[in-house]
């Protein structure tokens, strides 16, 4: 055993995108401290956008051909990492754009002026009068994003856990910063935090058991250990894997670890919900893919049925519960649960094509989700978001373009052909069918669940177009170019990925490569 600590090789080019995003967050904190309040918002937005654009540039120039394991194997920059990190940066950009929306006011519309103030207190009122604004949401989002980027590239369990916490902690804060219905927001934040901590504990417990079994936290090492026999340690292995999976499945919102999703999605500021739904899900699925495909695939016979049951439950419960929702944000939350189930079906294909399908699905779903939540944030009644479904009645008559875009996104959620939703579902389900009986069963359940969700989505379209408005003052707020751009990018991408998915599918296929 070497006693001397050796500094690991660092491939700076490979990790440059992560570093840029992190640096953006750090500079953001300095900005928070030194830039005058008047200009803080615009500086923060500009800084975030610049950081994300730079990160993307770094990704496509430096990292893309630099596929290595670095930092002693704790960061793996392979095809999957590059594709998912690129997607994350895009989501981050769109998320920042929607978070920066002012709707004609003097500060970001979605966020409270003072997160620390007790809701309804004089302190809060004073902060409001003083024109304070929580412009620290931008560095928080960047920190969270950097955690997500690390999460998908983590090559060992310790790094994965650190990344998990780095991505989660800023999100907990962001969820609690809603400007209106603050109690609901803070409650959501607290629940998310408590249950997230609970899930992290499972993850850590599982990691510890795995370390006990394999004597390493490195995913390659674990994979190697599984091929050998470990006398007396065998009973540790499967429970360990399951516990780690629980921690990861919590983040994607799989049933029965989904309970936080509707509450957190509903309470969070709507732009944060969109960002969270798109980016967190993608990051967590990246981690699941790496853990399952690289680390523990050798024992999959012993736990894949369990994971399949979770996938089936997730699809069914997500779809069925969305039927009775009356709040658009909760409805989209259950929809995201159902989608998590669909994506899990692709994961369970255990093939390169499955990997491609899952990555494509994550990108397509994220783009439509951010656009959908951005539209939700625009529909208002009396200055607050009109999230009750009944308030959306007749929206198609007053705001035809907005309603048509939302209707189109709903069709994409339902997986109707000529939308990216259809391509994505096809790309994820087809490899599952090839994988065997289990996959076929899951796909059948998935298609049936899709039919149920289609009912839910079409009902909203019917509500928007064929019902008369209950009240006349439900209007779509005049969005700035920021939100409009985010919605446009999401919607256009949904069309393009639905009609000509070829290039992106090809890109995903090239990225379907994991360095072991």
């Amino acid at each position: 055993m070497p006693t001397v600590f050796e500094a690991p090789e660092i491939n700076w080019a490979a990790i440059a995108p992560m570093l840029v995003v992190m640096a953006g967050g750090l500079i953001g904190i300095v900005v928070e401290a030194f830039v005058p309040r008047r200009r803080r918002h615009s500086v923060q937005v500009a800084l975030s956008v610049v950081a994300l654009v730079l990160a993307f540039v770094a990704l496509v120039t430096l990292t893309v051909d630099n596929r290595v394991k670095t930092l002693g194997g704790s960061v793996v920059m392979d095809g999957m990492s590059v594709f998912l990190q690129g997607s994350l940066i895009v989501f981050g950009l769109l998320g920042v754009l929607t978070m920066a929306e002012k709707f004609g006011g003097d500060r970001p519309d979605a966020f409270t002026p003072m997160g620390a103030a007790i809701p309804g207190s004089a302190y809060e009122a004073a902060a409001d009068r003083a024109g304070l604004a929580t412009s620290e949401v931008f560095p928080l989002a960047l920190f969270s994003l950097s955690g997500m980027m690390m999460f998908v590239a983590a090559g060992d369990l310790i790094t994965m856990f650190v990344a998990l916490e780095v991505l989660s902690l800023p999100l907990y804060v962001l969820v609690g910063l809603a400007r209106r219905r603050r109690l609901l927001s803070q409650e959501a934040s607290l629940k998310y935090f408590l249950l997230g901590a609970f899930a992290s504990a499972f993850f850590l417990f599982g990691s510890a058991l795995l370390y006990g079994y394999a004597a390493t936290t490195d995913l390659d090492g674990i994979a190697a250990a599984i091929t050998e026999t470990r006398p007396g340690l065998e009973p540790l292995l499967v429970p360990a894997i399951l516990l780690v999976l629980v921690g990861l499945l919590f983040k994607v919102g799989a049933v029965p670890f989904h309970s936080w999703t509707p509450d957190a999605y509903q309470g969070a500021p709507t732009p944060v919900t969109g960002f969270m739904a798109a980016a967190t899900k993608l990051a967590a699925f990246g981690a699941i893919l790496r853990f399952v495909y690289v680390g523990v695939e050798g024992t999959r016979w012993s736990w894949e049925v369990g994971l399949a049951v979770i996938a089936a439950l997730t699809m069914v419960v997500g779809a069925v519960l969305s039927v009775t929702q009356t709040d658009i944000k909760r409805l989209l939350a259950y929809s995201s649960i159902a989608h998590a189930g669909f994506i899990l079906v692709g994961v369970l294909a255990f093939s390169t094509l499955g990997l491609r399908g899952v990555m494509f699905y994550l990108l397509a779903y994220g783009l439509m989700t951010i656009a959908a939540f951005a539209i939700v944030s625009m529909v208002r009644q009396g200055g607050t978001e009109a999230t009750q479904l009944s308030q959306w009645a007749g929206l198609g008559q007053r705001h035809p373009i907005l309603a048509a875009t939302f209707g189109f996104l709903l069709l994409a959620f339902a997986g109707i052909p000529l939308t990216s939703g259809f391509t994505a579902k096809f790309a994820a389900f087809a490899p599952a069918i090839e994988s065997g009986t289990l996959g076929v069963v899951l796909v059948v359940i998935g298609v049936l669940a899709s039919a149920v969700t289609a009912f839910v989505y079409v009902r909203i379209i019917v509500l928007m177009y064929f019902s008369d408005a209950t009240s006349e003052d439900v209007v779509a707020a005049e969005a700035s170019p920021l939100t409009t751009a985010a919605v446009a990018v999401g919607a256009v991408a949904t069309v393009v990925l639905g009609i000509v998915p070829g290039p992106v599918l090809e890109l995903a296929a090239q990225a379907s490569e994991l360095i072991r």
């Binding site: 629940k191 429970p239 629980v246 029965p256 309970s259 509450d263 519960l321 969305s322 009775t324």
Partner: protein, 665 residues
């Protein structure tokens, strides 16, 4: 076969490239008027009329160029673009200009343009109608407001373009595009005053009945593709020479089905009477002069198929003979002037069909009668429109009478049309109808006696009901009161087209059948396309005998009408009449037959399917939906908002997850 020889000789040359403008100009007019909105209200009708005339003027140099070539070189083709390419199958969209299509082009653009002019007057606000203070517009008056006029003219232009496409197409699929185009224009114009539900229903009826025929054309095209691998006229013509007779009979019968739909022939005749719901210029142009004769065109154009399929050819002749009598019988009992004319149209197209079913001997006469009929029937329809114009849109002939003194021009022009349709020499109808009757008497066995006899009797009945119509309208006692009606002559925009058409009614037949020429000019003109018209075989009766018989039948018919409708008073309400009259008045129960044979079984089938769908399919789906909704409401209670129970759910999940996997191991 004479036709085949000529077809082989006539390898089409190239037509001038501007030929497509014939179709393009009216289509452009329709597009401008429909898309231009109210901005085109002021000049739209004039523009449409101008473009229609432009199409006619464009056709003239093509005609002269054609006359300048030798008869066998007269067919020219202009390929527009490659339309359908599928493997070895190649189809070009192209324009075929030969004497047959040229005849139609001239008829459509000339009569069509005249009717455009007439419509300028007819669709204007009634000048004789005094509008009182506080008088609200009736729906009828409302429909004649400017924007409605624009729509009307747009549809007229659309019709002209589609009809020209139909006759100029060089292949069956392209013909079918025009075929459907005229169907659409006809539908739009029958239902032009669609605020009246009965008119909208009439439009639907015309459209739906035509669909039955259209299916025939589609099936025929499919059969051609399957049997010959070609659907253009040249390809089909070449292949038909060697094809199996059974296939040709099938294709021929399918084409005949299409023709019966479009030309309102038995058994698809029921829509034409109701189609009179459209404005009268439309009835004149579409439902008398041009569109309804498209079926005859289709048969004549498909001569190579029918020539080699005698059974199908006989079917055409029989359908024609049946329809000519059917229409004539119905025409005797109608009191609605437009419906009587419609029945007459049906009957006259029956003559054309009969001629087309007589093979090469009859094709030229079918087209000949089609052309003369296009003039005299359009003229009479315009005359009827003029009468209605002066009589506050009254159509019941029992409310007319003695109008000749009030509208002299209408009376004279209508009278020329009347003489023409009766077949009185030397007016147009005499030349064309007589030729058909003579040709129908050619053949062996009982066939010439049946077909010729039908044509002969039809001529007599025609004379009766047309004279009845003419007398009831213009002669006899006035059966209207001065207080309610102020009959007056129509404006020149309406009377001038009527005069032109009347001139055609009088002279066209004489010109086209110039008796001093060796061959009749119309026969010589069409010979390169349809083969030689004059058969060597002689009719079973001598020609002078046939002519004499025809004239005697006509005289008897007209005389009976004179006795009944001039010498005796016409009751203003129709008498109950014999069962024969009642049957004819009820269109020989065509509606009842259709209802019993098609509608009721169809409705029963739909009810059955609907029941299965509601109780079976919907029941299952609905039950499933209710069940999912219940399940959802129950599951929802787990989501109670307490973090502690969420954590418990997770813990339970973990335990079950671990337990299940442990048990499985």
């Amino acid at each position: 076969m004479t036709f085949l020889v000529t077809a082989a000789a006539a390898e089409p040359g190239a037509a001038p490239a501007y030929a497509w403008l014939l179709i393009g100009l009216p289509l452009l007019g329709a597009a401008i008027l429909l898309l231009g909105g109210r901005k085109t209200d002021s000049f739209g009708p004039l523009l449409a009329t101008g473009l229609s005339w432009a199409s006619f003027v464009l056709a003239l140099p093509l005609l002269f160029a054609m006359l300048g070539r030798a008869p066998e070189d007269r067919a020219v083709e202009h390929v527009l673009y490659s339309w359908i390419r599928a493997g070895s199958f190649q189809l070009d969209a192209g324009i075929l200009i030969d004497p047959l299509s040229m005849s139609f082009v001239l008829l459509i653009t000339f009569v069509g343009s005249l009717i455009h002019v007439y419509s300028l007057g007819y669709m204007k606000d009634d000048p004789g109608h005094v509008r009182h203070e506080g008088h609200t517009l009736s729906a009828w008056e409302e429909s004649r407001q400017p924007s409605e006029r624009r729509r009307f003219f747009a549809y007229l232009n659309l019709f002209i373009a589609a009809m020209l496409l139909l006759v100029l197409a060089n292949s069956y699929p392209l013909l079918f595009v025009g075929w459907e185009g005229v169907g659409l224009a006809s539908y739009l114009l029958i239902g032009f005053w669609n605020h009246n539900p009965a008119y909208a229903t009439a439009a639907n009826k015309a459209f739906i009945v035509n669909r039955v025929g259209d299916m025939g054309v589609i099936a025929a095209i499919m059969a051609m593709f399957a049997a010959f691998g070609a659907t253009d006229f040249a390809g089909v013509g070449a292949a038909a020479a060697e094809a199996d007779t059974g296939v040709l009979v099938l294709i021929g019968l399918l084409l005949l089905l299409g023709a019966t739909g479009k030309s309102a022939q038995f058994p698809l005749q029921s829509w034409l009477g109701d189609a009179m719901a459209g404005p009268t210029p439309v009835s004149a142009l579409i439902h008398a002069a041009t569109m309804v004769t498209a079926g005859v065109y289709l048969i004549v154009r498909s001569a190579p198929i029918f020539n080699n399929a005698p059974t199908a050819q006989t079917a055409v002749a029989v359908i024609g003979a049946v329809t000519l009598l059917y229409g004539a019988v119905v025409g005797m009992a109608k009191d609605d002037i437009k419906k009587a004319l419609a029945a007459s149209t049906m009957s006259q197209i029956g003559y054309m069909m009969l001629a087309a079913g007589l093979g090469p001997a009859g094709y030229a006469y079918a087209i000949f009668h089609l052309l003369t009929h296009g003039f005299f029937k359009a003229g009479m329809f315009l005359g009827a429109g003029s009468v209605m114009h002066g009589m506050k849109d009254e159509v019941n002939m029992r409310r007319f009478g003695g109008l000749s003194t009030f509208m002299k021009i209408t009376w004279i022009t209508f009278g020329l049309g009347w003489l023409a349709i009766l077949g009185v020499p030397p007016f147009s109808g005499f030349w064309s109808k007589d030729a058909i009757i003579e040709t129908a008497f050619i053949g062996e066995g009982i066939r010439p006696w049946l077909l010729g006899g039908a044509a002969l009797v039809g001529a007599g009945i025609t004379a009766f009901y047309m004279s009845r119509l003419f007398f009831m309208t213009f002669h006899g006692k006035r059966r209207w009161s001065e207080r309610d009606y102020h009959p007056h002559e129509s404006p020149p925009t309406m009377t001038v087209p009527m005069m032109v058409l009347a001139a055609g009614s009088a002279l066209l037949g004489l010109i086209l059948a110039w008796p001093f020429a060796e061959t009749k000019p119309i026969v010589a003109w069409l010979e390169p396309v349809v083969g030689y018209g004059g058969s060597e075989a002689e009719p079973v009766l001598a020609i002078p005998v046939i002519i004499a018989l025809t004239l005697i039948f006509v005289a008897i018919g007209a005389f009976v009408a004179y006795r009944m409708y001039i010498q005796e008073d016409v009751p203003t309400t129709a008498p109950v009449g014999s069962w024969g009259t009642q049957a004819a008045r009820a269109d020989l129960y065509q509606e009842e037959v259709n209802r019993t044979l098609f509608e009721q079984p169809g409705v029963a089938l739909v009810h059955g399917l609907e029941h299965t769908d509601r109780s079976g399919v919907d029941g299952t789906v609905g039950g499933l939906a209710t069940w999912i909704g219940d399940l959802s409401s129950r599951l929802r209670r787990i989501q109670n908002g307490f973090a502690r129970s969420y954590a418990l759910t997770m813990l339970t999940g973990v335990v079950l997850f671990l337990g299940a996997v442990w048990v499985m191991q």
